[in-house]
Amino acid sequence: MRELLNGRIEPGKGPVFWIVGALLVIGMLFLPGLVGRYTLLNFNSFLLMVFLATGLALLWGFCGVLSLGQSAFFGIGGYAYGIVAINLADSPWASLAGVAGGIVAAVVFAALLGWLTFYGHLRGVYVSIVTLVVTLVIESFLNQTAGPQWKIGTAHLGGNNGLGRFSGAAENIPSLTIPTGGGNSLVISGSSPTFYYVLIGLIVFTYLLLRALVNSRFGVALAAVREDPDRAETLGYDIRLLQSMTFCIGAALAAMSGLLYVAWGNFITPSVFGVTANVLPVIWVAVAGRKSLAAAILGAVVLQWGAQQLAISGGEWALIVQGALLVLVVLLLPEGLLSLRQQFSRMRDVRSNSLKSQSRQG
């Protein structure tokens, strides 16, 4: 277990890394006591995107598959949560069934799409384009579902108004609800400290789990596929299976974000499938450093917070700044801000004449 957590693939190890990480998490636990409910509501919306970002980092940074359509799974997870939860509205298990439904729907869809692309021997930009086009098609499909005939059970899809109370439909999407026995249940609204603690817990859990995954033999195989798919295949790895599995894991993570988003705001619209929704996770992951799960987590939270500060002060400039940031990072620091640290430590290693530094690159 120690080896899995402190392995070679995911950067960051040694006591300093773990102590700083633990202090950061403990520090975060005090936030709800320090800020108002509105700030917490915002912060929750940033934190819930972390799963989407780590899923993309896993796919792009660790497996070399750049999916531009992670929003497809985000949206499917969100819509499925809403549809299931609305249909089971009377049951205390509605919300948890929605969670399961959201993840299952996204993974099934990812398996299908993965079969079409990876088993169709598509690679590189072709996968990127297919994933992007698929989510845009879903967006245009959902945009025309305004009529009363477009409903699943009791849930009206609502066209471009989307699902939930904002669509003008009578049905409301329930918040995250956990039955506590004896007919009682705990309702966790999007602005509550409980929602925040649940998110922090889930993020820590997901991070450790994914860290163990990428440091395992599976992760080493992914790195082989990323570096040279043909060679990996020659060496006996089933690259299509590895890519499809990673694609499904990435989809499950994106769906997690999507259903938490719906549980947070109690609504979802087709715009979550749009181009802007797809480009933002790519910006977070590319800027922070796609080859690290921790960087993806920090990137998602910090950049969303920064973008919101910009949006408050500078209106529509926020997207321009983020787009320009993406271009600059690709040109100057192709591995993201994280590579600054690696470059620094390489300089230090070279100075202390260590040969180890060479093998860490890659």
């Binding site: 070399g64 750049l66 531009l68 079409l116 169709g120 021997h121 598509l122 690679r123 590189g124 930009v125 072709y126 990127s128 384009i129 297919v130 992007l132 086009v133 698929v134 845009l136 098609v137 245009s140 499909f141 025309q144 798919p229 181009v275 802007t276 480009v279 790519v282 910006i283 590319a286 209106g315 529509e316 400039w317 997207l319 321009i320 983020q322 787009g323 320009a324 940031l325 993406l326 271009v327 690709v330 040109l331 192709p334």
Partner: protein, 308 residues
């Protein structure tokens, strides 16, 4: 009879739309291996430029030329500043141009506003045998065919075409033989941007011109380009647009516009599933299959896997 004419008219219209919206992208992707996610934004710039030109009092044709110039200028500038540094790095070029697309569309929104005055559409309708046809639509069809033929002639008969084809197939060897490949790349990118700007200005004659104007065309153009492949970009474009337009029109007529769109996507997926290098190789494979029992040796090597 009327149904057949109506179908042919719609088919030609879809073909023109697909060919015009993707021709600039096909050149850049096919010749340079760069995925230009800002393609739709170049179209938007073309339409904006044309609208401004028209407001300055230029005649419509010159206003369209203004739009083409605007798109070309921005294309060349971006080639020098960004794209040049990303040759041969497909995924990076894709991500960087996506950032550029965000900057351009959002920049247009902030600097110019949510919309600019539309261009007048000088074309009327023509009536043949009791059926009305939009002259503008017929003009688009003629334009698409003319552009494809011109491009083919450019590649086939000019010095630039020769150098460009050499650069495309063997960049290192072309360079060694004295072809200035960086200049070829720059001109190619400029040409792609110019064609995108031209298509944008022409489409602007019948659509509302806004910063998100191009975004609708980008995915369609990508579908056409992926199906076209990069073996022979002009024949690929022609085959891809003809086949996809046929599917799109059939399903649009049979069901509705969205079904047509989805059917086109599914067809594209099936084609690249069968032949990842594009429709020409698929046709080649089918031909080889058909001629096998005629003991002909006419097979095509469908190896060359496109790698990132």
């Amino acid at each position: 009879m009327g149904d057949i004419i109506s179908f042919a008219y719609q088919y030609a219209d879809s073909f023109a739309l697909l060919a015009l919206s993707s021709i600039g992208l096909v050149i850049i992707f096919g010749m340079m291996g760069v995925i230009n996610m800002a393609h739709g934004e170049f179209m938007m710039i073309g339409a904006f430029g044309a609208s401004f030109g028209f407001q300055w009092g230029l005649p419509l044709s010159l206003a369209i030329v203004t739009g083409v110039f605007a798109a070309t200028a921005i294309g060349l500038l971006l080639e020098r500043l960004v794209i040049r540094k990303l040759y041969g790095r497909l995924l990076y070029s894709l991500v960087a141009t996506w950032g550029i697309s965000l900057v351009l569309s959002q920049g247009a929104l902030v600097l110019i506003g949510p919309s600019v005055p539309s261009l007048p559409n000088p074309f009327g309708t023509v009536s043949v045998g009791g059926m009305n046809f939009s002259v503008y639509r017929l003009f688009l069809v003629a334009l698409a065919i003319a552009l494809i033929v011109t491009l083919w002639a450019l590649m086939r008969f000019t010095n630039f075409g020769l150098h460009a084809r050499a650069t495309m197939t063997e960049p290192d060897m072309a360079e060694a033989l004295g072809v200035r490949t960086t200049r070829i790349y720059m001109v190619t990118f400029g040409l792609g941007a110019a064609l995108a700007g031209f298509a944008g200005a022409i489409f602007g004659l019948s659509a509302q011109i806004q910063p998100t104007f191009g975004a609708a065309y980008t995915p369609i153009a990508f579908i056409v380009v992926v199906v076209a492949g990069s073996r022979n970009i002009i024949a690929g474009l022609l085959a891809s647009a003809l086949v996809l337009a046929l599917v799109k029109t059939s399903f649009t007529v049979g069901f509705n516009i969205l079904t047509g769109y989805v059917a086109m996507l599914v067809t594209a997926l099936i084609i690249i599933r069968l032949s990842p290098t594009g429709i020409l190789d698929l046709i080649g494979k089918l031909k080889a299959l058909a001629s096998r029992h005629r003991s002909s040796t006419k097979g095509t090597s469908a190896e060359e896997t496109k790698n990132a």
